[in-house]
Symmetry: C2
Subunit: 214 residues, 2 copies
């Protein structure tokens, strides 16, 4: 079985916005309330950050419990890792996720300012200055035969789509418009020249968009 | 994490029928065309019986690739194993599935006519004369901490529902009426005293029904 490159549980507004452009330490998603975008995932029984029992076990839970299935590495943009821009002032920033980040695989952070590899719990962060093709080759080698997740944010996913390196993609579209911010697409149908598109409407108002290569 | 008892990828018609009552060697589902009920599953990339590449990777594929996740044993009725009734004439019948049945776990076949344990590929069939509670205890012990799938058919699932032993259930309802046959329910809403029910309509016309315990 070949290694696939997958986007999973990426969340945008009805008008295609995945985050505000005004990211800060206090607001990882800028002016965008992340609860508006991925509250559906937090409500499920198998959400990675759930610490209490309970949670829903319908279709949303099939999606969240698939998050780690056969994933051997993740690639993320620097802004998913932290709010800093330019050279790192020091290496004290170790991500948003505390002592046990939910990735539990090698993670490749794309940055023009490499820094030493960081081991945090079961996750190892590598900081690399590379184009999408080079980054994917490194991630595939680290994934030991498993698939590679493109973890976001918006800019990173767009770069991988433009390089035609994505095999499948699950995007949850919330029922709210945000107006301004970082935009994944103008219209999801713009991708149907290369991808099948299946839309599934949930009772919550969220619409799942599943893309897979034609 | 406690062991859960799950029904997954069970298929019925719009009027709740899962199989004809006239099962035979030639027609495992009696007068019911199984393609009408679970053609959606066969179209997916990760369907257990798929031998060629290709297949869809939308929501249906999330369901089929979850089929084996964390399952340690299955319980099935005798009529899922074979078309015979009453005492076994001999032990030459070894199931519908050929040399490599898709279960790959211990399987407990409920029958009033026990026969010796059968190892077939990676699957081991145990034939037991037991009530649902006893069968579940044996399956849970064999599952080594993983969940137990109630594999059907209709009569077996009804028995486990009546004994209140099912924690969650995924049923795909096709858009066709069948009129006669073995009926899982009069109406799915009859189960909502004990279960949450989420319905998700697919573009194919199939409606997934997800139940999980309140």
């Amino acid at each position: 079985m070949s290694q696939r490159t997958r986007v999973q549980i990426f969340n945008v507004s009805r008008d295609g916005i995945g985050a505000g452009s005004d990211q800060s330490l206090e607001q990882p998603f800028g002016h965008v309330d992340p609860g508006d975008l991925f509250g559906w995932a937090g409500a499920t029984a198998n959400w990675v950050n759930r610490s209490d029992p309970g949670g829903s076990r319908g279709i949303e839970d099939y999606i969240t419990r698939d998050f780690t299935r056969n994933i051997g590495a993740e690639i993320m943009g620097r802004n998913k890792f932290g709010p800093q821009r330019g050279p790192w002032p020091d290496h004290s920033w170790e991500g948003w996720w505390g002592e046990e980040p939910p990735f539990r695989t090698p993670v490749f952070v794309l940055t023009h300012h490499p820094r030493p590899t960081l081991v945090k719990g079961e996750t190892t962060f590598h900081f690399i200055d590379a184009n999408p093709q080079e980054a994917l080759e490194r991630a595939q080698a680290a994934a030991a035969g498993k698939d590679v997740r493109i973890g976001g944010g918006v800019t990173t996913i767009r770069e991988f789509l433009e390089a035609d390196l994505v095999d499948e993609m699950h995007v949850a579209v919330s029922p709210h418009d945000l107006g301004t911010g970082l935009r994944l697409w103008e219209r999801p149908e713009d991708l149907t020249d290369r991808f099948h598109l299946e839309k599934v409407a949930l009772t919550s108002g969220v619409t799942y968009h599943f893309f897979w290569r034609r």
